[in-house]
Amino acid sequence: MDLALKDIRRHLGKFIATTVGVAMLLAIVLVMNGIYRGNIVDGTWLIENTATDLWVVERGRGGPFNESSRMAQDSYRSVAATPGVAAASPLVLYTAQRDFGGASQQFTLIGYDVFGGLGGPTTIAQGRGLEAAHWEMVADRKLGLRLGQQVAFGEDRYTVVGVTAGAVDASGNPLVYLSLPDAQKVQFEQDKRALAAARAAALRRLEAQGIRGEQAERLLPLVTGGAATINAVLVRLAPGADGEAVSRHIRDWLHFNVYTTDEERTLMLEGRLKRISAVLGLFRGLLVAVSIVIISLIVYVLTIEKIRSIATLKLIGAPNALIVRLIVTQSLLLTLGSFALAYLLRLLIAPGFPRTLAFTTQETAVTFAVMLAGGVLASLMAVWHALRTPPQLALGG
């Protein structure tokens, strides 16, 4: 006779309510797993999904993701001329925030050379990539834009020609791809009044230096700056080229920093993602510990509620194994039932969750094993108490 199942059957409502409660807690643990892994997946997505061998950035900088990097636009030409380089193309990327469909949304804008350059979208789910030099855009579906929809950036309107799935920046924000000149225009475009004020201020600075009239007008574009900067140069190596030698050449002769994709990934994991990963990992650990403590207390209370029955069992000669099985079985059923329900809850929660949730079978299995071990451990305290219960507790009133 399985006493554990009999007890559960008689108190089914209570057992289900307890299981649901624990399941909600475990669902949070599983979602936290997803957030932890999703944070890493998001953080490295752009690095791992940009078809490039080397990332060339401003000297002394850990860009373009962890730190800003500004380079002259034509610097990509000198990189392209480096021995062993098959292709080099400019890339700009920056974070922006605009209203789409009545909601303010943050996204990362990527500008690349549309005509054969590197850095374009790799995961187009609908439509096509950029083909025209201007006024086309590819956006991730997270932004909620439809194919053919027109979006205004500054004074220009851009048509959505392609939609990507899962293209996100390191913060999990969706990506928007524009042609390089369009991206630069959006990035550097100023309001007309602000532009007029800047020109007037520049003219006054020139006049203060004794430069006036036509001469000042000619010099004005040189002192007000331009849009011809980029954030990185992407490099594809020629077949058989030594990546290390190419990097060394670019570093020594062109005075830029060069990172391989692996190095960029390491920079991201060791830099921007390190602290948040540590925090999420800590929360995950704490949640697991809290869950085990709560399961322990529940199993303990369930045992205490049966302590007189346990004393009676001992008095009438039931072996300890029967009592241990009663407690451990209930603890395991509670843990297994809660985990299964938590897994279902996780499946329901994941699609609508505002951040990327990434799950690995290994991590889910480890969490399951930890919770199972926790469940057994949790029952030990109750077993210890039950085995110490004197049978004479069954006697008397």
């Binding site: 006779m1 006493l3 059957r9 009676t312 009438i316 072996p319 006697l395 008397g396 009133g397």
Partner: protein, 234 residues
């Protein structure tokens, strides 16, 4: 041969100046089918003697033998006491102590299964015992749905499930009204007569011992024999 034989059994709690002798050296012999009552006020040592007999709390001194097996002789004799209780002794409690999540039948079945009975055989015997105690019609009810008297009958059925040579009843009528108490005691008499089990009942209520073969009185840990009251009218 006596079913229960105890010689010089005493129980002392504490040590040195704080030692309290709850049970003075006691001899007792109970035959098969004998109905014995242990009477005495609260704190007189009744429960201490019952715990000592059942080896739940082994005595400080003395020798205890049940059904010819020496279980304690100034110390443990190596017998698995819990297994012995499971096979040879039946317990009836003041509060019935039925397992609340098992039906009446399952409470009896549990005892049978603990003794290795097969499922079909155990089921048949459980129903037989419940019928014997006139509670067979409530076999599928949980204890919470039974009255105190009905619960006590199920508890008695459970105590008899292992065909015990010795039944120990601790204040079996304390939670019952007089009428139901009398009925429970009548059942114990019937068990002793028909099943030849020795029955030792602890009680503080003189009205309940009518028809008992032997009545002992415990006072301040000392056991004295009151003699045998007149047989009860059946």
């Amino acid at each position: 041969m006596a079913v229960l034989e105890i010689r010089g059994v005493s129980q002392t709690f504490g040590q040195g100046d704080t030692a309290v002798q709850a049970l003075k050296p006691t001899d007792l012999s109970v035959e098969a089918g004998e109905l014995v009552a242990l009477l005495g006020p609260s704190g007189s040592g009744k429960s201490t003697l019952l715990l000592a007999i059942s080896l739940i709390q082994p005595p400080t001194t003395g020798r205890i033998a049940i059904d010819g097996q020496v279980l304690h002789d100034e110390g443990p004799t190596g017998v698995d006491i819990r297994a012995f209780r499971r096979r040879k002794v039946g317990f009836i409690f003041q509060q019935h102590n039925l397992i609340p999540f098992l039906t009446a039948r399952e409470n009896v079945l549990l005892m049978l299964e603990l003794n290795g009975a097969g499922r079909r055989e155990a089921s048949r015997k459980a129903q037989e015992l419940l019928d014997y105690l006139e509670i067979g019609h409530r076999a599928d009810d949980l204890p919470a749905r039974l009255s105190g008297g009905e619960q006590q009958r199920v508890a008695i059925a459970r105590a008899l499930a292992n065909d015990p040579v010795l039944v120990l009843a601790d204040e079996p009528t304390a939670a019952l009204d007089t009428g139901r108490g009398m009925k429970a005691m009548a059942m114990l008499r019937r068990i002793a007569r028909e099943r030849r089990s020795a029955v030792i009942t602890v009680t503080h209520d003189h009205r309940m011992i009518e028809g008992f073969d032997t009545v002992y009185h415990l006072d301040d840990g000392k056991l004295g024999r009151d003699g045998a009251p007149a047989p009860a009218a059946h």
